[in-house]
Subunit: 449 residues, 2 copies
């Protein structure tokens, strides 16, 4: 019998591979943080001697979620202001609060809180864009999550950097520090075509080529953004990026709710990844990304929650459900974006977007042991005819009971193992007292009550 | 000091009255199943001597949800088949399964399972339409939930009734049996204008007038329904009902995703209640009810989940969030259907729809003690700037910890007090084995994997 580290038996194993399999009464054999084999439980018991063996007899075991677009440190502004016009929300609440509070300490605490929330809903990897990158990266390494950290470039001075030179200098510093990290992957994150000059976008592209980095950008999020670009440059944002040569399979274009025939020609030729953030797009009234059209064009489409200040959560299960419902509504077709397809958007297609699909994103021998267990024997997911339908259309994030990254357990029967929940709740309350005192929140309380 | 039954102290009390109030550190004083007073906790301690006193120091206490449109007994078909064309779904799965399985026993078990799910997400009252009415009514009385039970009329033979005469006879029997029930209220439920003849609709209207009953009907759920009506009758469904005199404030028109100027004229003149079921409408690709327009026209709009076979849950918190997001998207206005308004749709406006807003639907002295506690000190709802934002946009149904109806506790710290959870899970599994064996589910499992 072969000696291994862990044998995880489950009622169902959902592989999320290109040719997805739903296996009953199978086991995951894990050695050195990797998946060694997936085989029937009975066979596993005779083939392997495991240091640790566990039975998830009412659970589905599947790859952890990959949240392909986040601003996790905005978590501390969640619910600070809702139901407002975008510019009112930004200028009255978010920007003043960011200007006053965002710092190394703020980002450290906010990242911890957000990672706790993400682990508790089964997320093992996230693709972030914010400030004080080192703080988030350090928390990810300590906590044990995979983090793709966007090195933000924006033509606006912030607490993080005052000038273009400083943004680029800090990006290069961050890259040098984390380029060999086992969990953190630096990416480039020019904010958008309306906040970054074409000169600076070209500079980002050159840096990405030099270091072989993915580029994330908010793109064609709303009709107003496209309109503004047409007025200012006589070009749509996608065309601007295409002319710079930035639109390639290494571009992660976030939102893309506005797509016309000219855009389709560019997308079909260049094949970037699109990240769909349906709840943010709905809540901010931005529009709906035509996911089905993009998939039919052969593009990789991944799923993200966006920041919790605009969404207002980091819940990938809820996001899958909304993505599927929204596609059915906008295409007028109840067959659109079925459960199994949206489950892959939240796992394997996220890994493809981030360029790590050889490493994670599906349960495949040789890949990293990044997986979760979801208990389906709860009232809300009974009776059960098909586990994927129940996960996507009926389950809640609280049914995620256990989470592992590289074979390390981060959540055990709903308890966080690498973060202190009580401590984090105290920190959240302390931050909210400070932030609330310095914004117009009191006025909001009056307005709403 | 006045002797009372219960004193419920809470961090926040949200009244959901027409002029909603969010009160901090207040208490609900309860006597004989009714709300006696709402006052600051400190004052309550000196004014009342309560047999039972409890402190919800991290919770919001608010009225329980009213789910204004359900087919709760379809719960046992939840996830039997998803992502299908409506007619394929109905003819291949749902109708054969209903034909074979729906019975007094089936409805009893399904009703128990559904009520367990509803109580666990904070619902205190539901407005149902299905078969074997007595079974659901009896479970509601035993469990302690408020149930409005639609006496179904449909021109199709079912296991419940074979002929029009039998449907009406069973309706009258049910009405006579439950007309004085403290928890069950009979209503009339002609299925739709495409499944009930105009002659039978007129007969329903006459019966409703005789017994002073509300009428529920599925109305203009999809473009195909309206198109079919125009082809067959040269009239839209709403016009058919208007000519019969059925469209009054006592009509509960469910869905209404299709509304043109002619419909608006009728609605403005007749003022029925509209029940919005956004998740069902999205999942079945039916369309989106223009809630904001209807509210501006002065109509009462309530919220429902529809049956869990099409939605796929009975979760009013998720439904509120989707309703708000969908309104913002379809009106292109991030201010549309704000958190506080959708919270009232799920409580007070549901009570108005059912004609019980003098009895329940808000926390108001004199009304029934139908209320819930939601714990907001969890990671996912921290930090907290405004409790209503957090409930609607960030919380999950699992944060509902306690539920009372008429002062009787149905859920205590997530434990059901009037239903046996383990027993119900066994029943659900037993039903799913039976149902799965007799439908095309195996084929579905192959298709999806």
């Amino acid at each position: 019998m072969q000696q291994i580290d862990q044998l995880i038996h489950a009622k169902w194993i959902i592989t999320c591979e290109d040719k997805n399999k739903v296996l009953e009464n199978h086991a995951l054999a894990i050695k050195d943080g990797k998946i060694l084999a997936i085989l029937p439980s009975a066979e596993a018991n005779t083939a392997y001697q495991a240091k640790q063996q566990e039975h998830f007899s009412t659970h589905a075991v599947m790859p952890g979620f990959i949240n392909s677009h986040t601003h996790i440190s905005m978590n501390l502004f969640r619910g600070l202001a809702d139901d407002m016009e975008l510019m009112d929300w930004l200028t009255t609440y978010i920007w003043p609060a960011e200007g006053k509070w965002v710092s190394q300490d703020y980002v450290t605490d906010a990242s911890q809180l957000a990672m706790a929330e993400m682990i508790r809903c089964g997320t093992v990897c996230f693709n972030d864009m914010y400030f004080f990158l080192g703080a988030t990266a350090q928390v990810a390494e300590t906590v044990g999550m995979r983090a793709h950290i966007g090195m933000t470039v924006i033509d606006v001075p912030t607490a993080w950097a005052k000038t273009t030179e400083e943004y680029f200098a800090k990006a290069i510093d961050f890259y040098q520090q984390y380029k060999n990290s086992p969990l953190v992957t630096p990416t480039l994150a020019p904010h958008s075509t309306y906040t970054v000059s074409q000169e600076n976008l070209a500079r980002v592209k050159a840096l990405a080529d030099e270091y072989k980095l993915k580029i994330n950008i908010h793109l064609q999020e709303s009709a107003a953004e496209v309109q503004g670009s047409l007025q200012k440059y006589k070009k749509r944002p996608l065309q601007i990026l295409d002319e710079i040569g930035m639109v390639t399979p290494d571009l992660i274009a976030v939102h893309m709710t506005q797509i016309n025939d000219q855009d389709k020609e560019i997308l079909q030729r260049t094949k970037p990844t699109i990240v769909h953030c349906p709840e943010s797009n709905m809540k901010l009234a931005s529009g709906a990304c035509p996911v089905d059209d993009l998939v039919k064009m052969g593009l990789n489409v991944a799923l993200g929650t966006d920041g919790a200040a605009s969404n207002n959560d980091l819940d990938m299960i809820g996001e899958m459900r909304t993505a599927s419902f929204l596609s059915k509504l906008t295409t007028n077709d109840p067959v659109a974006l079925p459960a199994e397809q949206v489950l892959k958007m939240a796992t394997l297609h996220g890994a493809k977007a981030l360029g790590i699909d050889q490493v994670t994103g599906s349960l495949t021998p040789g890949k990293s042991a990044d997986f979760i267990a979801i208990d389906l024997a709860q009232m809300e997911t009974q009776p059960l005819y098909h586990p994927i339908s129940q996960i996507v259309y009926a389950s809640s994030r609280q049914q995620v009971t256990d989470v592992w990254v590289k074979g390390q357990r981060l959540l055990k029967n709903r308890q966080l193992l690498t973060l202190d929940e009580k401590e984090l709740l105290k920190k959240a309350q302390s931050w909210s007292s400070k932030i609330q005192g310095t914004t117009s929140v009191d006025q909001k309380l009056v307005r709403s009550s």
